[in-house]
Amino acid sequence: MEKRNGSASDGWEGPTGRRTDEWSECLTQIAATGDRAAFTRFFRHFAPLIKSFALSGSSLSAAHADELVQEVMLKAWQKASAFNPEKAAASTWVYTIARNCRTDMFRRLQKFDTPLAADDFMPDQEPSEPFAMLQSRRSRDTIHALMGTLPPDQAQILAKVYMEGKSHAEAAAELDLPLGTVKSRVRLAIQKLQIQIDR
């Protein structure tokens, strides 16, 4: 049974990330058979999230937000065969496309004359460890489970940076905080979510 515009908590139903699998399967099916009914389900789930992402921080107008939804969904259809469920969940894949399209749209709106598109910034070779997917799923489950334990001021900064697309400096100016405070909140949040890697 399809859930339209489910609430945020519907996205994750326990440690297996079952619902994420649903969309990965759906995307695999789109790639294999060009199934338009499957694509319609996929659209009804992701388009409202992409629109929400586009409108976060009122960075884009409603018209540009719709344009972004259209661009991202069309790209998802066209690139579906490049989706590898071993490497990422469908929603991580869609998020990455949405982020890249939004970055490109910002640069277009600022009339950048550049030979580079956001897709060009992806590393030449992605890590091909056999456990990449398992690790990613685990880290997503951990992040999801720990998100609720973050102090609101840290969660707020993460939302500003990731969803509203504000730099640390912009977030600091908006919240009237020293830049160092914003940076340390980001670092603390990353430690608490257990995604810091020894480098």
């Binding site: 939302a159 990731y162 504000k166 990353i190």
Partner: protein, 218 residues
């Protein structure tokens, strides 16, 4: 294996897609040398995906769905079907695209007897994106920065008072740090440097050049 890395908050800005284009290109190039930073970025991207999943959906009308459905038969852009330009040799593909050739085909501006600079066009109006070629054992005159400087070692290595840096190492300096990098004796050093304000030489011998060191952004 790279020993000097971007800080985790810098990587966060990179992953969130909000770093200026030129800086983003420099970090992306570092990731090509550094599996640990690639892994760290992947985890930071997972965080982005979790935040994306928990956004409050904003209703999208059927008109938009129908517009997209009507466009599904369009030819996808060619770039979707092939992989990125494959990297030849060890340089990141993104840099090779901007260089349009190898180091010897670039035009180098000779700044001192041991330092040449080649400016690459990224289209970012706020940042200069340049390759520095320092002859083996050569020195960049002591200088300070009016802004920030990102450096990535592409070939050979150099050292300054704080340490010594080799292929793939990444450095980020904020305004007003003074240093005088010297290339390793064994081979020429080539670095990528991303600046938002021109260098300023501090030694008496080169100070006269400061007015000529304009930022070549774009």
């Amino acid at each position: 294996m790279a020993k000097f890395h971007p800080s985790v908050d810098l990587l966060t800005e990179y992953v969130a897609g909000i770093l200026p284009l030129a800086q983003s290109a420099c970090i992306s190039a570092h990731l090509n040398y550094c599996p640990q930073c690639q892994q760290q970025s992947a985890r930071l991207q997972d965080l982005g995906a979790v935040l994306f999943d928990s956004l409050t959906p904003v209703p999208v009308g059927d008109a938009l769905l129908n517009t997209v459905l009507a466009r599904l038969d369009e030819e996808p852009p060619l770039s979707y079907r092939r992989a990125q330009d494959p990297a030849v040799g060890r340089l990141p593909a993104l840099l090779q695209r901007l260089m349009k050739g190898d180091f010897s085909e670039l035009s180098w501006n000779k700044i001192t007897s041991s330092l040449g600079i080649s400016y690459l066009k990224t289209g970012d109006p706020g940042y200069e994106f340049a390759l520095y070629h320092i002859k083996a054992g050569g020195k960049i005159p002591e200088h300070t920065h009016r802004g920030s400087e990102m450096t990535l070692v592409l070939q050979g290595g150099f050292s300054d008072a704080a340490g010594s840096y080799h292929e793939g190492d990444f450095l980020f300096r904020e305004a007003s740090d003074t240093h005088a990098p010297t290339a390793l004796q064994s081979e020429d050093c080539i670095c990528l440097a991303v600046l938002d304000a021109p260098l300023r030489f501090t030694g008496w011998k080169y100070r006269w050049m400061n007015p000529f060191l304009q930022l070549r952004a774009g």
